[in-house]
């Protein structure tokens, strides 16, 4: 039972991290209808930038804020220089562009920081917690609380602010929102800023949680998160979060605890095909 609870806690942490990465993908898909594979490279850059700033200043706060700014800039650059000019082509064109961006960024990481696994020796400013004999490490608490905070802020922005309203209008129909006086390019840019900053947080959390930062850390998330946004319903942010949580927990429990020899990275896609057969629009997607 104790092992089960420990695995469950780990699974939820895994799911939280998936959720933070998948969020950005769902936001971008919702607004631009582009499969933003390079989002996972933004996530990798987030981990590296955070690690670098942490080593430089010794402050986690500076590392987090700096890494978020860095990734926001990178995200906007990808949107401006790659996606926006390719919007007029069929969807596979920006998709291949996105894959090329991701591979290029991975290579830059490898060339600049070396092909090895770096450690992220951050000490969190709060202790481990013991609950009924179960240890909840400070990194787990950090993952939970930061994810919860991000989700809350995002929920507030999308439901209670004019920016959120404009985002929803733009994701409904870019041309109509333009007629309503919304500058859709500003909204698209802000979406990339938000999604990329959240990816930076996710990258740093993964770095600290596993104590590992390496060039290809984004490869598996890149494609797994695609499956997750499909399961959640393309473009549905709550759906993406729920799907991520479920997958993180299922992966950890099925493979780590029940010891079922399932290929971990294929599980997301098996789930995806299952969901597609049952509900072709995804868990929370709207049928169009």
């Amino acid at each position: 039972m104790r092992l089960f609870i420990e695995q469950l806690l780990n699974g939820i942490a895994m799911g939280s991290i998936y959720a933070l990465v998948t969020l950005g993908l769902a936001l971008v898909y919702g607004i631009m209808r582009i499969l933003h594979v390079a989002h996972a490279a933004v996530f990798t850059i987030g981990a590296y930038a955070g690690l670098f700033l942490f080593q430089l200043t010794g402050s986690l706060i500076v590392a987090f804020l700096g890494s978020m700014a860095c990734c926001a800039l990178l995200g906007v650059m990808i949107e401006r220089f790659v996606y926006f000019p390719l919007m007029k082509y069929p969807p596979y064109v920006p998709l291949i562009g996105s894959i090329a961006v991701m591979l290029s960024i991975e290579e830059v990481c490898r060339l600049v920081a070396g092909p090895y696994i770096l450690t992220f020796p951050a000490k969190l400013p709060f202790p481990d917690v013991y609950l009924g004999g179960i240890q909840i490490s400070s990194t787990l608490i950090a993952v939970y609380s930061i994810t919860a905070a991000v989700l809350l802020v995002l929920w507030y922005i999308t439901t209670h602010t004019e920016l959120g309203l404009a985002m929803r209008a733009t994701s409904q129909d870019i041309s109509i929102s333009g007629a309503m006086g919304i500058n859709s390019h500003v909204i698209i840019t802000l979406t990339f800023v938000m999604g990329s900053a959240i990816a930076a947080i996710a990258g740093m959390l993964v770095g600290i949680y596993y104590n590992q930062v390496y060039p290809t850390m984004g490869t598996v998330p890149a494609y797994k998160t695609l499956a997750l946004i499909v399961v959640g319903g393309l473009g549905s942010v709550p759906g993406a979060v729920i799907a991520s949580m479920l997958l993180g927990t299922a992966e950890t429990l099925l493979i780590g605890y029940a010891n079922i020899p399932l290929p971990r990275d294929a599980l997301a896609f098996i789930a995806m095909i299952g969901v597609l057969m049952w509900r072709s629009e995804g868990l929370l997607g709207s049928s169009r």
Partner: protein, 294 residues
């Protein structure tokens, strides 16, 4: 010719066969596929198993291998094609991951160890290797190109083009989108199976990693680079992306970076590919081609 050149040439020709198949699916019928390596792998694994475990020769196994790849293409295409366009890209990625996982985790397929001891191809009593094997592959590529050319002249291709351009309008002209998308899928995956079979007999040892998702990305990049929907695009794209890493070899560490950067610049500034509509090469060649025809 040095054996180094022959090795690279053989791999390029084998990949070109698979990319021609991808061209039928993506270029002619407009159905994005990011899982083509899975079908390349299905061809390779069925050839490997039939020749190492069931005692078939390459030639007796070939129709079965091609049939099997096409049939699995049909089975996996059926659910994929019914989903929306954006889903198709992701579903085909999923197919690639799942097929690779099956090869890796199921003992029948050799598990993590892969399958070794695949025999060389024997033709007229001669074991083919080096230049002779290269020529055999080239022969198959010519056959595949001929089939593609023949396909583009047929009513079936016209139906595929119509679906690619405007599915709703096509369906109001008596064209069943599902039927013709599946047709393209079957032809394309069968060609991938042929390529995979040649690959298995060339390498003589295969493992799941040879057919992973990055291989699918490479196939699609070759097609995009060459110009999708054109007859020669797959060959040109495969040739360039096959030769470039060798040309970049002196750059050592920076080699892959330049390679990915080139792909990015290509798709950003010439998304139609080298031989595509309105490309720089087309514009330069246009007067020559026209002159030739007149």
């Amino acid at each position: 010719m040095s054996s180094y050149v022959i090795t690279i040439g053989t791999i390029i020709v084998i990949q070109a066969i698979a990319v021609c198949g991808l061209n039928v699916i993506v270029g002619y019928a407009g159905q994005i596929s990011l899982g083509h390596a899975a079908f390349f792998g299905i061809g390779a694994y069925s050839a490997a198993i039939l020749t190492t475990k069931a005692g078939f020769s390459f030639w007796t196994a070939l129709p079965l291998v091609i049939g099997m790849s096409g049939f699995i293409g049909l089975l996996l295409g059926l659910p994929s094609i019914r989903v929306r366009e954006d889903f198709l890209a992701i579903t085909t990625i999923g197919i690639n991951f799942i097929v690779e996982a099956v090869f890796r985790y199921v003992q029948f397929f050799g598990g993590a160890l892969g399958i070794g001891g695949i025999p060389r191809i024997v033709l007229f009593g001669i074991k083919l290797k080096g230049i002779t094997f290269f020529l055999l592959c080239l022969g198959f590529l010519i056959v595949v190109l001929f089939i593609c050319w023949w396909f583009t002249r047929s009513w079936a291709s016209l139906a595929c083009y119509a679906i690619r351009e405007e599915e709703t309008a096509a369906s109001t002209m008596g064209i069943s989108p599902v039927r013709f998308k599946l047709l393209a899928f079957v032809i394309g995956t069968a060609m991938a199976g042929l390529g995979g079979s040649l690959y298995a007999h060339y390498m003589q040892f295969i493992s799941a990693g040879d057919f992973s998702f990055p291989v699918s990305v490479a196939f699609l990049s070759m097609l995009v680079l060459g110009g999708m929907g054109t007859l020669w695009g797959p060959v040109v794209g495969t040739l360039i992306l096959g030769v470039l890493p060798e040309v970049f070899r002196p750059l050592v560490d920076y080699r892959i970076f330049f390679y990915t950067l080139l792909l990015l610049l290509m798709i950003r500034f010439q998304p139609g590919g080298i031989l595509g509509e309105g490309s720089v090469v087309r514009r330069i060649l246009a007067p020559i081609l026209k002159g030739g025809r007149a």
